[in-house]
C-alpha cells in the first residue's frame, strides 16, 4: 500500500502523474502556442521529478541531468519553438486528423495498455520509483499518438520532444538515469534536431507555402 512509501517516492509519483496529465492536455490542446507552453511545463515537472530522485538517492549525476532538463526543455527549446511559430506565422489552430475526443479515448486505451505492459518490467527494477515506468511508457505512446494524429509539422516536433520526455522519465524511474555521456549525447541530439527541423520548416514553407505535412505526400515518385 502507498502508506508505506517514502515521501520522495510519493513526490516522484506525483510529478510523473503531472507529466501524464500534461501529455493528455497536449493531446487535447487546440492552440499551438499553448501546446508549446504545456511542453515547457512538462519539462519542468520532469526536472522536478529528477531533482527529487537526486535528493533522495544522493546521486550527483541526477542533479546535472535535472539542470540539463531545466535549461534545455523548459527554457531553450520552448523559446526556439516560440520564435519559430512567430517567424513562420503558423496558424494558431492545431489541425487534427481525428477529432479530439476520439483521440483521447484512444489515449485512455493506450494508457491501460502501457500500464499493464510495464507491470512485469517494473517488478524487475529495484528503484523506489519503478511504479512510474508505466506512466513513462504511456507518455511515450501518447506522444506517438499525437504525432500520428496532427497535421502541422510544429505539433509533430512537439510530439517528438514529448516522447523524449517520456523516455527520460523511464530512464530515471527504472535505473536512476542513464550514464552522463549518453544523456549529454541525447540532449545535444535533441537540440541539434530541433534546430535542423527549424531550418527544414523554413524550407518546407518556402516550397509549399504551408506547414501542412500532407503536402509531403506529393513528393513520392510515381
Amino acid at each position: 500500500m502507498s502508506a508505506t512509501m517514502p515521501i520522495s517516492a510519493q513526490l516522484i509519483n506525483l510529478f510523473a502523474s503531472v507529466i501524464l496529465l500534461l501529455a493528455f492536455a497536449m493531446l487535447a490542446q487546440r492552440r499551438v502556442l499553448t501546446l508549446i507552453n504545456l511542453f515547457a511545463l512538462q519539462g519542468l515537472a520532469l526536472c522536478l521529478a529528477t531533482l527529487v530522485a537526486a535528493v533522495s538517492t544522493g546521486q550527483t549525476h541526477l542533479y546535472y541531468s535535472a539542470g540539463l532538463t531545466l535549461v534545455l526543455k523548459v527554457l531553450l527549446l520552448p523559446w526556439i519553438l516560440h520564435r519559430l511559430v512567430r517567424k513562420l506565422n503558423v496558424k494558431s489552430e492545431v489541425e487534427a486528423l481525428i477529432n479530439i475526443p476520439a483521440t483521447m479515448l484512444v489515449g485512455i486505451v493506450l494508457v491501460m495498455v502501457a500500464f499493464n505492459v510495464a507491470l512485469p518490467i517494473s517488478e524487475l527494477s529495484q528503484t523506489i520509483t519503478r511504479g512510474t515506468l508505466g506512466i513513462a511508457l504511456a507518455v511515450v505512446l501518447l506522444a506517438f499518438l499525437m504525432m500520428i494524429t496532427r497535421q502541422k509539422a510544429i505539433t509533430q516536433v512537439v510530439g517528438f520532444l514529448s516522447m523524449e520526455n517520456g523516455l527520460f522519465l523511464a530512464a530515471t524511474s527504472a535505473t536512476y538515469g542513464m550514464p552522463m555521456v549518453v544523456e549529454l549525447g541525447i540532449a545535444l541530439d535533441v537540440l541539434v534536431g530541433v534546430i535542423i527541423l527549424g531550418v527544414f520548416f523554413f524550407q518546407i514553407r518556402d516550397q509549399f507555402d504551408s506547414l501542412d505535412i500532407r503536402h509531403m505526400e506529393n513528393l513520392k515518385d510515381n
Binding site: A16, L20, M104, I108, G131
Partner: protein, 334 residues
C-alpha cells in the same frame, strides 16, 4: 425505533451516536447551508464584478432578491401543470438533502448513512430530472431547449462525477462521504497523484453543473446561449425564489464536496464543541478563497459553443477515468 432482526453491534453504536447533540449539529449544518449558500453566490458575483472592472452588487444582494421574489405573486402560464408547481419544491428538497449529507463542519452527521456518494449523485440527478421536466411543461420553445441542453450537460457530467467519486472511494475503500473525508483528512499525510486528476475533473464538472462560464453563463439572458436560465424562464415569484435558492445550494454543495474531497483539513471528526467551533472559520476561509478562484477562472475563460460543452465534459470524464487508472497503477502496487 425497534429492530426487527435484533440489535447489531455496529448499528447500536451508530444509534447511540445519533443523540440529541448529533441531531443538533445536523440541524446546524442544514441551517448553515441555507444561510451561507446565497452569501456564497453573492461573494462570487462580487468577485466577478471586481475582476471585470464593474462596480459590484452588494454582498447581500441574493438575500434581497429572494425576499423580493417571495413577496411577489406567482404568475403561472395557462398551460402549466401541477408538476410545474411541484418541481421547485422537489428541486429545493433534493438540494437540501445533498447539503445535509456533505460534511461541512463535522463528519459525524446522523443523516450521513442515508446516502453515500453514489446516492448523492443520484439526488443531484433527481433534481436535474425535475427541473428539466418542469422546463418542458409549459411547452415554450425556450423551455424545451433549456431542458434538452440541461440533460445534455447532465448525461456527461453525471458519469464524470461518479468516476471522480470512484477514485476517492478506491483510496478510502468506502463510498460513504464521511469515511472518505475521514480517510483523507485524518490519516498520515500521503500524496495521492490520482487525486490531482480527480480534482481537475471535479472542477470541470462543477463548472458545468453550476451553469458557470465555459459552459453556461449565470448572468446571461441571451436566449440562444443559455441553459439554466432558459429552463426557468416561465418561473416567477416564490417558485423562482426557490429555484434560485436551490441553485445557490447546489453551488454550495459542490463547493463543500470539492473542499471535503480535496482539501479536507479542518473538518472535525467527532462532535466535540471545540472542534466544530474551529471548523466554522476554516470553512468560511476555504469558501472565500474558493469563491474567489471560481470567479477568477470564470473571468479568464470565454463561454464555449454549446457543442464544445460535450468536449469539455468528455475531457472531464476521461480525466476522471485516468485518475482511476493512475490510482490502480501507482498507488496500489508498490
Amino acid at each position: 425505533m425497534n429492530l426487527p432482526w435484533g440489535p447489531g453491534g455496529e448499528f447500536a453504536r451508530r444509534e447511540a451516536a445519533m443523540s440529541i447533540s448529533g441531531l443538533l449539529w445536523q440541524l446546524l449544518a442544514i441551517v448553515l447551508a441555507l444561510a451561507l449558500a446565497p452569501l456564497l453566490t453573492g461573494w462570487v458575483n462580487q468577485c466577478r464584478a471586481w475582476l471585470q472592472n464593474r462596480s459590484a452588487p452588494p454582498l447581500l444582494q441574493p438575500y434581497y432578491m429572494l425576499h423580493k421574489l417571495f413577496l411577489k405573486d406567482v404568475v403561472l402560464a395557462h398551460g402549466a401543470s401541477p408538476l410545474f408547481r411541484f418541481a421547485p419544491f422537489a428541486v429545493f428538497g433534493c438540494m437540501l438533502l445533498a447539503c445535509a449529507i456533505i460534511p461541512t463542519l463535522s463528519t459525524d452527521l446522523p443523516l450521513a448513512p442515508t446516502a453515500d456518494t453514489i446516492a448523492l449523485v443520484g439526488v443531484l440527478g433527481l433534481a436535474r430530472i425535475f427541473i428539466s421536466l418542469a422546463a418542458m411543461d409549459v411547452g415554450t420553445s425556450f423551455g424545451t431547449l433549456g431542458g434538452r441542453r440541461e440533460m445534455l450537460i447532465g448525461f456527461l457530467a453525471e458519469p464524470a462525477l461518479l468516476m471522480v467519486i470512484f477514485t476517492t472511494a478506491l483510496i478510502s475503500q468506502s463510498t460513504s462521504v464521511a469515511t472518505i473525508v475521514e480517510t483523507l483528512a485524518h490519516r498520515d499525510f500521503i500524496i495521492y497523484p490520482s487525486l490531482a486528476f480527480a480534482g481537475i475533473a471535479f472542477t470541470f464538472v462543477s463548472f458545468a453543473e453550476n451553469a458557470r462560464v465555459p459552459v453556461d453563463n449565470p448572468a446571461t439572458h441571451l436566449e440562444l446561449t443559455m441553459i439554466h436560465e432558459a429552463m426557468i424562464l416561465e418561473y416567477s415569484g416564490r417558485h423562482l425564489a426557490l429555484i434560485e435558492w436551490a441553485a445557490s445550494l447546489k453551488l454550495y454543495a459542490y463547493s463543500c464536496l470539492g473542499l471535503a474531497l480535496f482539501f479536507p483539513w479542518g473538518i472535525a471528526a467527532g462532535s466535540s464543541v471545540l472542534g466544530l467551533l474551529m471548523a466554522i472559520p476554516v470553512l468560511l476561509v476555504k469558501l472565500v478563497i474558493g469563491g474567489f478562484l471560481l470567479a477568477g477562472i470564470e473571468t479568464i475563460n470565454a463561454k464555449v459553443r454549446i457543442f464544445r460543452a460535450p468536449e469539455f465534459l468528455g475531457t472531464a470524464f476521461l480525466l476522471a477515468v485516468l485518475g482511476l487508472l493512475v490510482r490502480l497503477m501507482l498507488e496500489t502496487r508498490v
